[in-house]
Symmetry: C2
């Protein structure tokens, strides 16, 4: 089973990407959306996966940064 | 029908993204892969859609820049 985790921080770039991109994913993919505003404990997990900015999509462990909303430093200090 | 166009320029970042990301897309999506090395006439079309760097995925007209391979200026001058 393919696993996709979409990490975001509620910024407008993130919300746009979430709404549009997730609709293009295969329905068979196990998609999880993580908003750091709701669960900041997931930040370290995202950084371990190589996430440097949000929004980011981690596909089977490989991070893909999408456009640019905010750096992880901004997420942690925001 | 949803339309996805993946623009790239053959760089390693592009090839990795193409191989991994396209496998996550819904099989019902009409996916087109455009390599500027094969068809430089598509560069202006990509720029019109808002593509500023490759690899980029344009989903129903909305551009999403993925990680970072090369700027469009580098593509044009390369």
């Amino acid at each position: 089973m393919s696993k996709a985790t979409f990490y975001h921080a509620g910024c407008p770039v993130c919300q746009d990407a979430e709404k549009n991109m997730l609709g293009f994913l295969d329905p068979k993919v196990d998609v999880e959306v993580v908003d750091f505003n709701d669960d900041s404990s997931r930040i370290s997990e995202a950084e371990s996966a190589g996430v440097k900015s949000v929004p980011a999509l981690v596909l089977n462990g490989q991070p893909y940064h999408i456009n640019y909303g905010a750096s992880m430093e901004e997420v942690k200090n925001g």
